[in-house]
């Protein structure tokens, strides 16, 4: 990190000085500001389409590879282990275990936040070990979250779902006796 220098008067300029926020807002310096239009359209393909449309209905779809005898989630049209076509759609439960997690003090726009958000990979029940997708974890603190913890999905209300991975708001801890 470059040590930030404060100047009593601004300008005069000195080489290697920082640009202050007020320099921009009060237009003390000349600059070019441009907001490019960067729109993208990602074609999901048949497997991912079915997965996301399933989330809209509150279902998690996986796909079965008969040769490797495993369920792939998020689904793909071919198995990346044996390169064979995947065959059969299966509906998976919305429970699983925490495969890995991260305590993030940055929000999705990389702004610093006081209360950390918990993100990680959930390994759904019925899928092979170490196999899952990224999600948020909620209803637990940063001290409570553990790898291997049993969790259950908390869905958005049905009318708010839009066929996105965020249709699952987060995964909450599953207490003993619940399923």
């Amino acid at each position: 990190m470059v040590k930030k220098k404060e100047y009593k008067e601004w300008p005069p300029y000195a080489p290697g000085t920082h640009v202050h926020e007020s320099d921009i807002s009060e237009k003390k310096i000349t600059f070019t500001w441009w907001e490019p239009e960067v729109q993208y359209s990602w074609s999901l393909g048949p497997a991912m389409s079915k997965f996301l449309m399933g989330l809209k209905e509150g279902k998690i779809y996986g796909i079965h590879c008969k040769r490797c005898k495993r369920i792939i989630v998020p689904p793909r049209m071919f198995c990346e282990y044996c390169f064979g076509p995947t065959e059969e759609w299966v509906e998976l439960p919305d429970t699983g275990i925490i495969e890995t997690f991260s305590i993030s003090y940055l929000d999705p726009d990389a702004r610093r936040i006081e209360e950390p958000i918990l993100v990680g990979v959930v390994d759904l029940d019925g899928t092979p070990p170490h196999h899952g997708f990224m999600t948020y974890f909620g209803e637990m603190t940063k001290d409570e979250i553990k790898i291997g913890m049993r969790v259950k999905a908390v869905w958005k209300p049905e009318n708010e779902r839009e066929g996105s991975i965020t249709d699952i708001k987060y995964f909450k801890p599953l207490k003993g006796g619940e399923d």
């Binding site: 300029y13 080489p15 000349t30 441009w34 490019p36 729109q39 359209s41 449309m53 076509p85 065959e87």
Partner: protein, 159 residues
């Protein structure tokens, strides 16, 4: 099912649309700042000369990029906003790839009496002409509307 399944519903292959925020902020720098602030109040450009290799920069620099010699303020001078076209192209598409109603002639203009060049737009209706080596002068915005960017040069006109 799965791989052998036929797509029958044309609405089902979904597209995920998004908009990436990628704001672009480019401060002019110390030398560039002086250049643009001068341009906001005057109708001339600033240039600076390296005392070691005599190269003249416009827009000015703090250091000579050839011999790394620091250029003092005393070597700065005003130059008239005229130049010669070194190369040019006729743009028929805009930055987003859409067809332009009227094409634009974009040229690389050697600033007279300096060793530097600036990119600019040529004001013309003749898109089949060879502009190489044509003498041009900068047409600037009215002084009250200048904002200290290269857009203060509205276009270049043949003289």
């Amino acid at each position: 099912m799965g791989f052998l399944e036929k797509q029958t519903d044309p609405t089902s292959p979904m597209h995920w649309r998004g908009d990436m925020q990628a704001d672009y902020f480019y401060p002019s720098g110390i030398a560039g700042d002086k250049f643009f602030k001068h341009l906001m109040k005057n109708d001339t450009f600033l240039a600076c000369k390296c005392s070691k290799c005599s190269k003249v920069y416009c827009p000015p620099r703090l250091y000579c990029e050839d011999c790394f010699e620091e250029i003092p303020d005393s070597n700065w001078k005003e130059v008239p906003p005229v130049g010669t076209i070194r190369l040019f192209t006729v743009a028929r598409l805009n930055a987003h790839g859409k067809n332009l109603v009227t094409p634009k002639v974009v040229a690389f203009i050697d600033i007279g009496s300096t060793n530097s060049a600036i990119l600019g737009i040529i004001n013309t209706n003749d898109f089949n002409k060879d502009f190489t080596n044509a003498k041009v002068k900068a047409i600037l915005r009215s002084k009250d509307k200048r904002e200290g960017t290269l857009k203060d040069i509205v276009y270049w006109e043949e003289v």
